[in-house]
């Protein structure tokens, strides 16, 4: 009997040893952080593609399948992913740990009034906080806590990986700040209010958006006003995410000396954005080139 039990115990050992935390994230950037922290003790999948607008995602049963067997679901929060509750409910997963990563973020542009006349405003503030790399430490800490909750035995492994990643990120932050320091105060037009945290970090001046209101398509009248603003302010760059139609920004660029820059807000938005650090490398490099 003892021999049988010993054999059974040995058979289960490899399973225990290779038990992994199944993580699903909304954005591919969060998937990158989870991989950096979790290493081979996590499996990571994400829902939104880097070339996809995270505000508008169709509720597909395949996303519910991803969450059905997941342990942890990481999301940006602040109502960026308005579609997420339907996917969470559709997954039928009662033990899913849903982690809103915005809890300890200092939020920008929290509106006094929220109604549809303001466009697609988010009542908890601008949710694009992951584009300020100084906020990644708070995100990483939340991810570490959620992974430890799912796999307490691997606490030290997760903490060590997180510290190594944050150390690497701190070095890059210094490098990015040094590269952008001469451009402090430079004026930009952006398509959507995705770059508020990024601009606040680097001291850039976002003069206006191509969208007349958040989420509202560019209008001819507003585009004409922007052309005047770009000429008057000698604005050199119009920043557009890869998933937006660039016709209105191109029209502004043709009438002025500004350049349209396609900058990704997520990993995979352009080929060069293989992970968060390479995405920020690409964005900083492109901006320096355009604004110098």
């Amino acid at each position: 009997m003892k021999k049988i039990l010993a054999v059974l115990a040995m058979m289960t050992l490899p399973i225990v040893a290779h038990a992994t935390v199944r993580v699903v994230t909304t954005l591919p950037d969060l998937a990158d952080f989870a991989r950096q922290i979790g290493g081979d003790k996590v499996t990571v999948d994400h829902i939104v593609r880097g070339d996809q607008n995270p505000h508008f995602v169709e509720v597909k049963p395949s996303y519910m399948m991803k969450l059905k067997s997941a342990d942890v679901f990481l999301m940006i929060g602040m109502e960026l992913e308005m579609w997420a509750p339907q996917i969470i409910d559709g997954s039928r997963n009662a033990r899913l740990d849903v982690v809103n990563l915005s809890k300890s973020i200092h939020k920008l542009e929290v509106p006094d009034k929220v109604d549809a006349s303001q466009g697609d405003v988010h009542r908890y503030g601008n949710p694009h906080y992951w584009l300020d790399p100084r906020n990644i430490r708070a995100i990483v800490n939340e991810i570490v806590a959620s992974l430890i909750k799912s796999s307490p035995a691997d606490e030290q492994f997760f903490r060590t990986n997180a510290e190594a990643f944050l150390k690497k990120l701190d070095t890059k932050i210094t490098e990015w700040e040094d590269a952008m320091r001469p451009l402090k105060g430079a004026k930009l037009i952006t398509f959507h209010k995705s770059w508020s945290y990024f601009a606040a970090w680097l001291g850039l001046d976002v003069v206006d958006q191509v969208e007349p209101k958040p989420g509202i398509q560019p209008s001819p009248g507003h585009t004409a006003q922007l052309i005047q603003k770009v000429r008057a302010g000698n604005i050199k760059a119009i920043v557009v995410e890869p998933f937006y139609d660039a016709s209105a920004p191109q029209q502004i660029a043709r009438s002025t000396s500004a350049t349209v820059l396609r900058l990704p807000t997520s990993v995979g938005g352009v080929d060069e954005a293989r992970d968060y650090i390479s995405m920020m490398d690409y964005n900083i490099r492109t901006l320096v080139e355009a604004l110098k």
Partner: protein, 376 residues
């Protein structure tokens, strides 16, 4: 009268709650009215005159949708509807009111209880404001009536173990009243209670990063003649394919084929079936219906498409109709405001007598309140 008073009271209560108790426990409330201007050339066909009627501008329907979580495991949805009949009379109805337990049950079960649109086929679960077109497909109208398959019942669904492919099996036990509206037998007070059952199995396939396919098979059976206890069976095959390469463009192809078998002793007008000798007989009837449409969305705010319908009557394979519709949609700012223009030609063929009617309709709809992401 009592029903109107109850519905009006419910509306007032909702307005009061939403205006006076601004807490996070408030349910989500949406209001979606639809209006229509339409004209057709079939009004005087019996006199041999084909001319378009005076365009009629009328209120079509208003849906008041209230939904909220009940607790961490369940939620409730209520849809109250105000309908217009010929533009001058409006009445209230409880379109849906159901609670869903979506989490915490064994075997990945999901349980729904109340009055709801039954998970049968693809279009039955969609409210009219979610359609790309203005008119209801003929097969759904003929086999289920204006409201589709909407009944009081209990629904249980589970996810089947098919690897990474989402496959859902749903079973419904229904009161069985929805079919009465489609067959004309509305007064069933003297008959024994009838129950109906419905089932659906659907699978969802991710073809590429930009395209998906959903297929389903549904079944619905019940008593269509409660006095004679005659049974019917509906079998339905559906598919939906969507290609969406970016946030501004998409192509949707969707179709359904419904096959009906039933035993019957009378036709739609309650004329008894008789054999050659003039004796009453019980006939076996097999009829079917289908629709297919394509809808192409471009520049985010526009859509254009076409639909083909063909359907027999549930009671008579010699009573046929087909329709061809082309439609155009314009949603100037998101989906909170929409305009749909549709031309439709409908040809009916009853026992060899054909009639063709052309119709043009412009529908206006808007949506107040929170707008959930659309399911595939």
């Amino acid at each position: 009268m009592l029903r109107h008073a109850i519905c009006a009271g419910a509306l007032l209560a909702l307005v009061f709650v939403s205006g006076n108790a601004q807490t996070s426990l408030n349910p989500d409330i949406s209001v979606i009215p639809r209006f229509i201007i339409d004209s057709h050339d079939g009004e005087r066909l019996a006199d041999g005159v084909r001319e378009f009627s005076r365009p009629d501008f009328r209120f079509q329907e208003l849906e008041l949708v209230v939904s909220s979580y009940l607790n961490p495991f369940s939620r409730a949805d209520v849809v109250l509807a105000m309908h217009s009949h010929n533009g001058d009379h409006v009445d209230f109805s409880l379109e849906e009111a159901y609670a869903t337990v979506f989490r915490g049950l064994p075997l990945d079960l999901n349980v729904r209880l109340g009055k709801y649109r039954v998970d049968f086929g693809k279009i039955n679960m969609m409210h009219p404001h979610q359609w790309a077109f203005v008119t209801q497909p003929l097969s759904q109208e003929r086999f289920f009536g204006d409201e589709g398959l909407n009944d009081l019942g209990l629904s249980v669904s589970t996810l089947l173990p098919t690897g990474n492919i989402y496959t859902k099996l749903t079973f419904d036990l229904l009161r069985g009243t929805s079919i009465g509206e489609a067959t004309g037998i509305e007064d069933t007070t003297e008959a024994k209670p009838t129950y109906a059952t419905s089932g659906r199995v659907m699978s969802f396939f991710t073809l590429t990063d930009y395209s998906d396919l959903e297929t389903g098979i549904s079944m619905y059976t019940g008593i269509h003649d409660p006095y004679n206890r005659d049974r019917f069976w509906y079998w339905n095959f559906d598919f939906k394919y969507k290609y969406k390469p970016d946030m501004y463009t998409s192509l949707t192809l969707q179709g359904e084929y419904l096959f009906n078998t039933r035993k019957g002793r009378q036709d739609r007008e309650f004329n008894q079936f008789v054999d050659d000798a003039g004796n009453p007989e019980r006939r076996s009837i097999k009829t079917s219906g289908m629709y297919i449409f394509a809808d192409y969305q471009f520049l985010k705010t526009y859509s254009v498409g076409a639909r083909f319908d063909w359907s027999q009557s549930p009671y008579d394979d010699d009573d046929k109709a087909r329709a061809i519709a082309v439609f155009f949609g314009y949603y100037p700012v998101e989906e909170t405001l929409g305009l749909r223009l549709q031309y439709q030609n409908t040809r009916t063929d009853i026992a060899g007598v054909s009639q063709s009617v052309n119709s043009i309709a412009l529908q206006v709809l808007f949506s107040l309140g929170p707008h959930k992401a659309h399911p595939f």
